[in-house]
Amino acid sequence: MKPLLIIFVFIFNWNSHNDIQFKVSIGKLPDCNGFNFCSISKDNTIQKRENEVLAYINVNDEKHIEFSFIKRSISDQLFLKYFSTGTFLLDEDFIFAPEICETLNIERCKLKQGKYEISDSYDKYIVVFNY
C-alpha cells in the first residue's frame, strides 16, 4: 500500500509541476514593444491582452528553462513578430519576479539574452532558454 501511495504522490506532484500555466507578456518594458518579456505571471485566465500568450514553463536542468507557448493563445501579430522567423530573440537578460522564481524553484532568476531556436511541437512552440 505504501509504495502505491508514494507512486501516486510522485505522479501527482510531477503532473502538477508540469501543468502550471503562465501568462507571458511578450515585449519589452515600458511599452511592451521590443524583443523580451514584459512580465510573466501565474494568472492563467482566458482574458488576455494582445501581447500576452499562455505558456508552460519547465526547468529542464540547472542551465535550461523550457517555455512551451500554446499556439492557440498566440495572436497573428505576435506570431508574425516573435515566432515566424524560427528564432526567439531576447535582446537583454530577463529577470523573473521573485514569486515566479519560487514557483519554479530556481535560484538564478535570470534568463540570459540571446537568440533561441523555436521548435514546433504539435500545439506548442517550444523555446529552451539559458538561465
Binding site: 497573428d76 508574425l80 522567423t85 528564432t87 521548435s119 514546433d120
Partner: protein, 252 residues
C-alpha cells in the same frame, strides 16, 4: 570513339541538370527576404480579416495554393533540434493553421525558396588549365574538361560560403614530346586521355577556387607506341571559376 565519349558526357551533364531543376520546382518552402504586407484568409483564399499584417524578413512559409494572381500561404517553424519528439510537418496540429494571402508578384520578388539542408548534390563542368606532374616535375597546359559531381556543404548561407567535394571524369588533351616518351617521338604530339580526378572547391560568393588530384590514361595503343612517362601517374591542378549546378538534399 572520342566523339562518342564527348556526346555521352554532354548527355550526362544535361540529364543531371534537368533533374536538378525539377527537384527545385517541387520545393514549396519559402522565406521572405524583406517585410511583406499580408492579409488573413481561409484555405480557399477568401480574405477573412482586412487588418493589414506585416510578415517580417526571414519568416518561413509554405505555399499552400496558387490562384491566378493570389498565393495562399501558411507560416511554418522549421525545427532543427529533434529533442522534443517528432516535429515533422505531418505531426503538426492542422487545426491551428492560419492562412494568409499574398500576390504572385510578392512571392516572386519578396521571397525565395528555403534550402532544407546544408548539403547539396553538385554536378557540372570543371576546367583544369594547368597540371603539375611529378617524378620528374613538370607543368603542362593539358586542358581537361569533363563532368564533375559530388556534394556541397554550405558553411555560411548569408556569406554564400561553401565547400565542395568532387569526383570528376572527362577527357584531356595531353601533349607528349621526346622527354616524356623516352625519345619515342621527336616532335610534340597531342593525344586524348581519359581523366579521373577528385577535388575540393572552396566557394565564396561568385568566386570558386579548387584543388584537384587526378590521373590521365592514354589509350593502350598510344601507350605502347609512345611509352608516355606520366601514364596513370598523379597530377595536381589548381582551378579558378567553375560552372557548377547544385540541388538540395532534404534531411529526414
Amino acid at each position: 570513339m572520342l566523339q562518342k565519349w564527348l556526346v555521352l558526357l554532354l548527355l550526362l551533364f544535361f540529364t543531371k541538370l534537368s533533374f536538378g531543376q525539377s527537384a527545385n520546382d517541387k520545393n514549396r518552402l519559402y522565406e521572405f527576404l524583406v517585410e511583406c504586407p499580408i492579409y488573413k484568409c481561409n484555405i480557399i483564399g477568401k480574405i477573412i480579416d482586412t487588418t493589414l499584417l506585416i510578415a517580417p524578413p526571414k519568416s518561413k512559409f509554405m505555399l499552400v495554393d496558387m490562384k491566378q494572381d493570389q498565393c495562399i500561404i501558411r507560416f511554418t517553424v522549421l525545427t532543427k533540434n529533434k529533442s522534443h519528439g517528432n516535429k515533422s510537418i505531418s505531426m503538426e496540429d492542422y487545426t491551428t493553421y492560419s492562412y494568409y494571402s499574398i500576390t504572385k508578384a510578392q512571392l516572386d520578388f519578396k521571397a525565395s525558396t528555403v534550402k532544407k539542408s546544408d548539403i547539396d548534390l553538385v554536378v557540372g563542368t570543371v576546367m583544369t588549365p594547368i597540371k603539375l606532374r611529378f617524378n620528374p616535375f613538370d607543368f603542362t597546359k593539358d586542358i581537361g574538361i569533363g563532368t564533375t559531381f559530388g556534394v556541397k556543404y554550405t558553411l555560411n548561407q548569408d556569406k554564400q560560403a561553401a565547400i565542395d567535394g568532387l569526383i570528376g571524369v572527362g577527357i584531356s588533351n595531353v601533349s607528349v614530346d621526346s622527354f616524356t616518351t623516352h625519345g619515342r617521338t621527336l616532335k610534340n604530339v597531342d593525344l586524348m586521355a581519359f581523366t579521373s580526378s577528385i577535388g575540393i572547391v572552396l566557394e565564396l560568393g561568385n568566386a570558386q577556387v579548387g584543388l584537384f588530384l587526378g590521373f590521365d590514361f592514354i589509350s593502350n595503343e598510344n601507350q605502347i607506341k609512345y611509352d608516355w612517362l606520366y601514364q596513370a601517374k598523379p597530377w595536381v591542378s589548381f582551378g579558378i571559376g567553375f560552372s557548377m549546378f547544385s540541388f538540395n538534399i532534404k534531411k529526414n
